[in-house]
Amino acid sequence: MGAVKLLFVVQRPPYKNENPRLALTHAIASQTAEIYMDEGDSVVPTVVFVGDGVLNVIKGQQAMKLYGVTSTESHIKNSLLIDMPIWVCKEDMTRLGLKEDQMITDAEELGAELKTKFVSFADIQKEMDSVKHLLFF
């Protein structure tokens, strides 16, 4: 089958439900999925935050300090570190009054080269069209 593209779409805020976080951990698992696959096969995930899902990407989350739970921020940064594309819908940020400087834009402190991509819904639609499977959270 070669490389199969998957799109993980997070539509809801963090911390009320485990699933937005599971979108990230599942996407990260694509790195180790090869043991279950045939030679030459691979999965290529992109994680996109749309609607209220963009609230997951607000920086400065103190979940570990206050509740002893890994923050969604930390999962996003780990994703960037392994070069997994993280996209955030610009229109939804605008609607909710969020500016880029309030968001997680990179994980430079971890040594990540990849940066968060702020995209239009039209770009997301194109990606939906091109992937094999959609996974909404």
């Binding site: 809801r12 699933n19 698992a29 180790t32 999925a33 096969d41 996974l135 959270f137």
Partner: protein, 119 residues
């Protein structure tokens, strides 16, 4: 026939998305399709055997075993299970435990994916 993979993340009691998934799997198998099922998040509540079949509560253990007998592969997220205190010896017969990469790998060859990532 073709292959359908269903990923479920909803809790055992209440949302009825698990009930939906098992009934859909049943219908797909009846039509000759191969079905794989991945349970993660609160859906790992299926990974505890010995659930009492009260009439007030969704009870899918029997249906699940029937479908496994018909060739359905069903795997639960190991970490999600351990975090809830479900260990290897709690797992119902025929159900496998694995990490999330099992599910990711299934998406490569499956013809269709139904991913139920909400309640």
């Amino acid at each position: 026939m073709a292959e359908l993979t269903i990923g479920v993340f909803s809790s055992l009691v209440g949302s009825m998305s698990l009930d939906f998934s098992f009934k859909l799997a049943d219908a797909a198998i009846a039509k000759g399709h191969k079905v794989n099922m991945w349970l993660s998040g609160n859906a790992v509540m299926m990974a505890k055997k010995g659930q009492k079949a009260f009439k007030d509560y969704s009870h899918n253990e029997k249906k699940m075993k029937e479908l496994i007998g018909k060739g359905m592969e069903i795997t639960v997220c190991e970490a999600c299970a351990e975090a809830r205190g479900y260990h290897k010896e709690d797992t119902p017969e025929g159900m496998k435990r694995a990490s999330m990469d099992w599910y990711l790998a299934k998406t490569v060859k499956t013809d269709r994916l139904l991913h139920i990532g909400g309640e």
